[in-house]
Amino acid sequence: MTNKRKSGKVAPVVRGLLFVAYGVPIIWIVITSLKTSGQVFNTGWGMIFFSPNITAYTKNLHGALLQAGLQSIIIATGTCVLVLLIAVPAGYGLARTTGRIPTIALGALIILQMVPQTATVIPLFQVFGSWGLLDNTLGVVIADTALLTPFAVLLLRPFFRGVPIALEESGAIDGASVWRIFRSIVLPIARNGVATTATLIFLISWGEFLYAVNFFLSPGRYPLSAVLAQQITAFGIDWPGLMALAVITSIPILVLFVATYKQLRDGLTLGAVK
């Protein structure tokens, strides 16, 4: 397979740099999570050599955290499903239509993304309040979906445009309906892009906390992202605790990524088989 071919001597160097750039902070997070509050400000070699302890973890691992984790899963999955349901067709529609309206629609999507999240909290709060969606997981899912759909559509459109139109046309010649062509011909080819977009949506909504913090009125319903945001306050930052919590809340993400990475890779192999 072509992709196994080494792309020269530069690639390993780049990979090495990336390892350092992304590995060091992670190591730092893990190290800090094993320190006590006092050790956090060690200077010199004390930064790396110290006697580790896991109090930061034992302090934070309790039932409430599990509940928050479940909440995170529900929100991220729900957002992912809802976004894909409306953005995948929309991406396809905008990829295959021309004219002023689709162009304006694309521009509108970009503009919609520009509205700062902080500016949408209050109007959405009023809407959800009058519809009884406050303090409700569904409300947060809707808010996250509204936030991420323009992004998903913009991201999916090039993948759909990458599907050769000849295939769709041959399907049409064989008498398939537009929906059939979309489902059976286009989607399988754009699978890579859909999977990538789905992964991104899941990850972003997993980490989203502004809506979660504002639309959930009781802390018992906070997802992990909001619990994490709570650790930074003006009157006391528990650095080891924050880092421990960061590690704990990120493990599910890592698990998901490892699982879907294999699928992404397999999907790639399938598509290239002659």
Binding site: T2, Y92, T118, L124, N192
Partner: protein
């Protein structure tokens, strides 16, 4: 064999242009527009409404006291107040520098990472995992980590200290602070761009690579002529998304410098946040947000124009 090569060459960066009769194509296209309806409805209710509220607030006097009741119309005084207070000039230039750095570094870094990670060399999976892990971490965590790493007693300055140099104020030196925060923000964005670029690169027909190799292309030429051309539409989208992200980004500034020292790292979104949620002048904050939106409209027009050009190539 010759037929295949020419067809595969056509695929790179261009659309297949075999055409059935024209009227049938047009009807097909109209039908496909139906696919957009669910998204349009949803967005109309939950995205357009807040935008309208934003615009209304930017021309009204809105404070917590008047939030629930009628807003007084004040015309453009929110906008002129912003300019009159004098900080807007600094903030504008800060924002442009910030967005520029994040976009350039984010795109170049993302593409370089994607190219070097497209194979299944040793450690690729682990590295991708590391990068996505970092990207998925909340900015609160990432920002705090870098705040430590860049501090006077942090990793970088400690290494400098070994060679006897006095510490560098990455986050409090008024000339360095903005660059430091922008670079950290780029670092946080690269994994996303890398993932998307990578998906696009993986979509390139392997036959094209084989054909290029048969023609004797070296890796660098492979990159320049095959990969770059194939990811052009993706580059366009990612540029737009990264620029938009840069114009909206405020979490890192909030955690690392809070806009300081002074106002050196205050960008438009941060200013909007300060005005709306620290000074509680929602009208002023909305006006600043609207200015940001206007700046991006220009960008949106550029993107839309290139989309039209894309279609003319069809």
């Amino acid at each position: 064999m010759p037929t295949m090569t020419s067809r595969t060459m056509k695929k790179v960066g261009r659309r297949d242009s075999s055409a059935p009769s024209a009227p049938r194509k047009r009807t097909r296209r109209q039908i496909r527009f139906v696919f957009v309806i669910p998204a349009t409805l949803f967005i109309a209710i939950f995205s357009v409404y807040p935008l309208i509220q934003l615009l209304r607030m930017s021309v009204s006097d809105v404070t917590p006291a008047t939030l629930g009741s009628n807003w007084d119309f004040v015309g453009f005084s929110n906008f002129s107040k912003g300019f009159a207070e004098g900080t807007l000039g600094t903030v504008l230039s800060n924002t442009l520098v910030f967005v520029g750095i994040v976009t350039v570094l984010g795109l170049i870094g993302g593409l370089a990472a994607a190219i070097s990670l497209r194979g299944s060399a040793r450690g690729t999976g682990l590295l991708l995992g590391l990068m996505v892990f970092i990207w998925a971490l909340p900015p609160v965590v990432n920002g705090s980590v870098w705040k430590f790493l860049l501090g006077n007693t942090g990793l970088f300055n400690s290494m400098l200290g070994l060679s006897g140099t006095s510490p560098i104020g990455y986050l409090y030196n008024q000339h360095l602070a903005l660059f430091s925060v922008a670079i950290v923000n780029s670092w946080a964005v690269v994994p996303f761009n890398a993932l998307v670029f990578r998906a696009a690169i993986l979509n390139i027909d392997p036959e094209i690579f084989e054909a290029a190799q048969l023609d004797g292309a070296r890796p660098f030429q492979e990159i320049r002529y095959v990969i770059m051309a194939a990811v052009r539409p993706t580059t366009l989208v990612l540029t737009v998304l990264t620029v938009v992200y840069g114009f909206r980004s405020f979490d890192f500034i909030y955690v690392m410098t809070y806009g300081g020292p002074g106002t050196v790292t205050t960008t438009l979104p941060f200013l909007s946040y300060l005005e709306a949620f620290v000074r509680y002048d929602f009208g002023l904050g909305s006006a600043t947000a609207v200015i940001t939106v206007v700046l991006v409209i220009v960008l949106a027009m550029v993107y839309a124009r290139s989309v039209r050009r894309e279609e003319r190539e069809l």
